[in-house]
């Protein structure tokens, strides 16, 4: 079975597994207490915090651990808006942010705030002029932009967006879920979010970093943990494993990501040559190293995923028929690209050239058969 769905979750890194098993034995006690076992858990937690901070370009005291990337986004968006209530009530996001950002925006609107989504190009890159105009609004309290799009891999102009935000005194929340551990974090963020299981850590650990000087106030009931930003007992073994995975992934990133990126290039170049009526989506060069997405005309995305699964390939799709909702992916809609017959291939660490070649060998036949079954000439 070839696992090509790293953008959903990266398999647990061997070093994370080792760290997790060790930390379950020694890091189980409450890190907020004062006895020996607790001090050990506290030490492990703070070591992990220092390592994660260093890998993400933050200070340890700026880092809080959450229970997921989604929770980091929810707390980051709503906590920053809460902290800046007097500055304004307007939230600016790109139209292709992760659903956690858009759902947090929905809560903000129901609470009387306003939210605005900025459109993207055909390749999924945010319109910087429109973004700048939205940020310049007198009531803007927060802007959000992802480092790379989770469905099509397009890199966003985060450095430029951060400069725009800085000029207008508006904090920028950067969602680095798809690139943390794979690419350096672009500078200029005020709030940074990430998810450990996307970089080979375990599920159940997210990161919320709040830059010193950024106004932030949790909207949840008061809790002493994680600098009052995140409620609840820390998952110390999970956090230790997350830090080990991030350290390992970051150390391998330069070499491994350029290898995966070459495989993505091979898919991007080959698919249109061997499958008729196909559109490869997203930025061809300014993209995350491991993600490639294409849509096949006249093909039911669910049928294609099922056939690929039978042929031994785990991939995902933004087509509506494969999602829990009736709507197609908001990302593909915002880009104005074909939403049906959509396949996202995202390569995990260690994905082999042989697996990619086998994928390219079986794909044309599967697409042809599905089209024939649908009566397409």
């Amino acid at each position: 079975m070839a696992y090509f769905d790293a953008a959903s979750t990266e398999p647990l890194h061997p070093q994370a597994r080792e760290a997790l098993l060790a930390a379950i034995d020694v890091g189980w006690a409450d890190p907020a207490r004062l006895y020996n076992q607790a001090r050990r858990a506290h030490l492990l937690l703070e070591q992990a915090r220092t390592e994660v901070a260093e890998a993400l370009g933050a200070r340890p005291d700026e880092i809080s651990f959450t229970s997921s990337g989604t929770q980091a986004v929810h707390l980051g968006v709503l906590g920053t808006l809460h902290g800046r209530r007097r500055a304004g009530r307007h939230l600016v996001t790109s139209a292709v942010e992760h659903s956690s950002v858009l759902h947090a925006a929905g809560v903000h609107e129901r609470d009387g705030g306003t939210a605005e989504t900025v459109g993207v190009s055909l390749t999924g890159r945010v319109d910087l002029d429109a973004f700048a105009a939205a940020v310049a609004g007198h009531d803007t309290a927060l802007a959000c932009l992802q480092t790379a799009n989770h469905e099509v891999g397009t890199l966003q102009p985060v450095t430029e967006a951060a400069e725009i935000c800085r000029r207008h005194g508006v904090p920028l929340l950067v969602d680095a879920a798809q690139t943390a551990g794979r690419m350096p974090i672009p500078p200029g963020w005020s709030v940074l979010t990430a998810s450990a299981h996307k970089w080979g850590g375990p599920a159940g650990v997210g990161v919320l970093a709040v830059r010193k000087g950024t106004r932030f106030r949790s909207f949840l009931p008061e809790d002493e943990r994680e600098r009052r930003r995140v409620p609840g007992f820390e998952n110390v073994p999970g956090i230790v494993a997350a830090a080990a995975a991030l350290r390992a992934m970051t150390a391998e990133a330069a070499q491994e990501c350029s290898r995966l990126s070459a495989l993505v290039d091979r898919i991007r170049e080959t698919v249109p040559k061997i499958v008729p009526d196909v559109e490869v989506i997203g930025e061809p060069v300014d993209r995350a190293p491991h993600i490639v997405t294409f849509s096949c005309l006249y093909v039911d995305g669910e049928a294609l995923l099922t056939e690929l699964d039978k042929a031994g390939f785990a991939v995902s799709s933004g087509s509506s028929c494969t999602a829990s909702t009736l709507r197609p992916s908001h990302v593909l809609e915002a880009m104005g690209v074909l939403t049906h017959g959509n396949v996202r291939v995202s390569l995990p660490r260690g994905a082999s050239a042989a697996e990619v070649d086998r994928f390219l060998a079986v794909l044309p036949g599967l697409v042809r058969r599905i089209r024939q079954d649908a009566g397409v000439e």
Partner: protein
Amino acid sequence: MTEVTQPALTIDALGKKCPIPIIMLAEQINHVPLNAVVSVLADDPAAYTDVPAWCRLKSHRHVGSYELPGGGWAIHVRRNY
């Protein structure tokens, strides 16, 4: 009002999920003369994005999408070749 040409052909794809509306459009676009307009009636939200995207890929022209009183859209496509 030069834009809203009377369609030469209406394809009823209401109740049909993508890619079926697109398959119907591809099959039938050549049934109308050059520069004539085909109207695709569809209520799958995917069709709202996919018909214009198909036009871009196939170099036909998406004229406009008009909401239908009962839900869905009449999506107008001009045959270019």
